[in-house]
Symmetry: none
Subunit: 203 residues, 4 copies
DNA sequence: AATGAATGAGCATTCATTCAT
DNA sequence: AATGAATGAATGCTCATTCAT
C-alpha cells in the first residue's frame, strides 16, 4: 500500500486510463464504476477519492484527452501559411492524427458513439455546441482571408463553405470511426480535402 | 368495452408516438417504459403486449419513422436525371426534408444524440454500418456514371468523392441538428452541395 | 404468487407490520428495507410498489398506528363530564392504554427513542410540534372551563397548568417506556394524575 | 511547527465543539466525521488521533457537557434547606438553567431529538436508565423526608410523586426544547413547579 | 386487450476506518 | 501531532420483465 503524493497522481491516472477502456467497452451509461475500479486495480472508493462521481470522471477524461488535438491545432495555426494552406493542413492533419493517435481515436469514439444525451452530462453538451460554433467562425474568417488574398473564389458564401468544411470533416471522421475498415483515412484524407478545396478555390 | 383490431392498432401507434417523445426527452438508456406508458395513456403491461421489450420498441420506432426518407430517396432516384442532377437533388432534398419534417428530424436526433452503444442495440448498429456502406457504393457508382457521361472530372478518386459526399451530408446534418439556430439548412443546402459538386465537376 | 386486489391490501399490511418490527429493532436510521422486506416475506421491490421510499413507509406507519389513540381521545371527549373529569380521564386512560395496547406502545417507542432528527423526516417533526401546541391549547381551555364552573382554582395560570399537564403526561410516558420495569403505569397512573389535579383544584 | 500539549488540548476541544455543532445539525446518525473535521478545521485523521471513533466522540462530548448541570445540582443540594425548598429549587433552577445555558440546551436537544437508539450507543442508553432511576430514588427520599418533617402530605404515594416530579420535569423540558417559542421557561418554571408542589404539600 | 402486483438483478454513492508518511 | 490516500462494507433505489387475472 502506497500513500505518497506521487502515488496519488499515479492512481488518478490509472483510474482515468481505466475509465477510457471501460467507457469504450460498455458505453458511458452502462459502464460500471466497479469495472473501472477493477481495471485500474483499485476499489470504487478510490474513484470517489479523486472524483465527485461518474460524470466527473467522464468530464476529466475528456478534458485531458482532448489536449493532444488542441496542441496539434495550435501548432498548425502558429506554423503559419496561406489561408488555403492552413485550412488544408488543419483538415488533413487532424484526420490523419485520428488514425495515428489511438488515444484521440478512442475519445472520439467515446463521444460520438458511446455517449448519448444524459441530463448529468448536459454541461458537456453545451460546451460542444459552443466550440463547434467557434470552429465554424474561425474557418469562416480563414476563408474570408483567402478570398482577400485571391486564393478563394470571391463569389462563395463563406459561412456556407465554413459549415461545409466542418461538416465534411466531422462527417468523414464519423464515417471512418464507424468502420475503419471501410477506408483508410491516411490514404483518402488529402483527396477528400482537395475535393472540398477545389470547390472553393479561385479558378 | 369492446376492443376491435382498430383499437389495437391505435394503441400500438400511441405507444410508438409516446416512445418517440420519451426517448427524445431522456435518451434511450434513461427512458423508462413507465414514462412511455404514461405518455401513451396506458400501463407498462400494454407495451409488453405489443413489443418484446424496450429494444424492440426502439427498433420498431426507427423502422417506421425512416420510411418517409426512404420513400423520398426512392422517388428522387426513379424521377431520373443526369448523375449530377440526381446526386445534387439527393443531397439537397434530404437536407431540406430534415428541416421540414418534424418526425424525421426527431428520429435523427434520437439516433445521433440520444442513443449510444449498447449491447442490446448491437444489431441496429451493424445495420447502420451496412447501409452506410451501401450508400457510399451507390454514390460511387453514380459518380462513375457521371464521369462516363462527361459530367464529372475523370481524374477524381470516385470512392474518395463518395465518402466525401456522404461525410459532408451527414456532417452538415449533424451540425444542424446539434443547433438548428446556428444556420438554416433550407438556406444553405444548395450552396453547400454546390461547393461539393463544383469540386468534382469536369472543368 | 397472488395478484388480486385483496392480496395487494394484505401485502401492504404485511409490509407495515414488518416495518413496525424492524424499525423498533434497529431504529429508523439503521433499519434496512431489506430486513423489512424479509420480515414481510416479500422483496424490496414490493415495498417500492406501495411506498415512495423509506420515509414514506415510516410516515404511513405512524399515521395508521396513531389512529387507535385518536379514537380513544375522541370517545373520552364525546363521553362528556365536568372539565376535571374529562382531564383526569384523558390523562389516566391514555397512560393505561399505553400499557395495554402493544401497538400503541411500539409506535411511541419508535417515535421517542428509535427515531432521531433527519432531514427526510422534517415534515413529520413539524406536524408533531403543531399537534403538541393544539393539545396544550385544548387543555388550557378545559382548565379555563373548570375555573368557570368552580372546579379549579381561579388563581392558577391556565397556560402554565396546561403545559404542566402535557409535560407531566409525556414525561411520565417517556419514563415508563424507557424502562417499564421501573413502575407499572396502570398502578401509578391515577396517583400521578391526582397529584397534578390536586395542585390545581379549587380548595 | 512545534506542537505543545496545549496545542493538542486546543485541537481536542475544537473537535468536540465542532461535534456539538455538527451532531445538532444533522443528528448523530447522519453526522459525518468529515463534517466535524471540517468544522474544526482539521482532517478526519486528527479525530482518530484523539478518539477511538464516532461513538467515542459522542460519549466524550456528553460527559463534558453534562458537567455544568451536575455541578448545579451538587451546589443546590449542598446549599441545604428543607426538603420542599430543595426539591423546588432543584426543579426550577435546572429548568431555568436550560434556557440560560446554551451549551446545556444543545446537549439536551442532541440527546432527546438528535440521537436515536443505535447498537453502538447501547452503553449510553443503559447509563441513562440507571441515572433516571437514581434520580427518582433521590426524590422519593426527599419527599419521604418532607413527610417526616411535616412539609408534605403523609397520604401521598412517595414513589408515584417522585415519578410525577421527574416526569413533569423532563416532559416540560422536552416540550420547551421542541419549540422554545411555545413558552418561556423562565417565566413559567415557578408556576409549573408550584402546581406540582401544591399537589403534595401538607394542607 | 390490458392491468397492476411482485420480482430481482443491478449500481452509484456514502463513510467510518486504517495506516504509511 | 496530523495528513490524506485508499479501503470496503453497507444500502437505498430504479426498472425491465413476468404473469395471474
Amino acid at each position: 500500500m502506497r500513500r505518497t503524493k506521487d502515488d496519488a497522481e499515479i492512481t488518478r491516472r490509472k483510474i482515468l486510463d481505466a475509465a477510457m477502456v471501460v467507457f469504450n467497452q460498455y458505453g458511458y451509461a452502462s459502464a460500471r464504476l466497479e469495472d473501472i475500479a477493477a481495471e485500474a486495480g483499485v476499489t470504487r472508493g478510490a474513484i470517489y477519492h479523486y472524483f465527485e462521481g461518474k460524470p466527473e470522471v467522464y468530464t476529466a477524461l475528456l478534458n485531458e484527452r482532448f489536449e493532444g488535438v488542441n496542441n496539434l491545432v495550435g501548432s498548425i495555426v502558429s506554423d503559419g501559411g496561406t489561408p488555403k494552406e492552413v485550412l488544408g493542413k488543419l483538415l488533413t492533419k487532424i484526420l490523419v492524427f485520428m488514425e495515428e493517435n489511438r488515444e484521440y481515436r478512442m475519445v472520439q469514439e467515446l463521444v460520438l458513439f458511446k455517449t448519448a444525451y444524459l441530463p448529468e452530462l448536459e454541461e458537456g453538451m453545451a460546451h460542444k455546441v459552443k466550440s463547434t460554433e467557434a470552429t465554424i467562425s474561425f474557418i469562416d474568417n480563414l476563408i474570408k482571408e483567402g478570398i482577400q488574398c485571391g486564393e478563394f473564389d470571391k463569389n462563395i458564401d463563406t459561412r456556407a463553405a465554413a459549415i461545409a468544411a466542418v461538416g465534411l470533416f466531422s462527417g468523414v471522421s464519423t464515417l471512418w470511426l464507424l468502420n475503419d475498415k471501410m477506408f483508410s483515412i491516411k490514404k483518402y484524407a488529402e483527396s477528400i480535402v482537395d475535393c472540398f478545396l477545389s470547390g472553393i478555390i479561385n479558378k
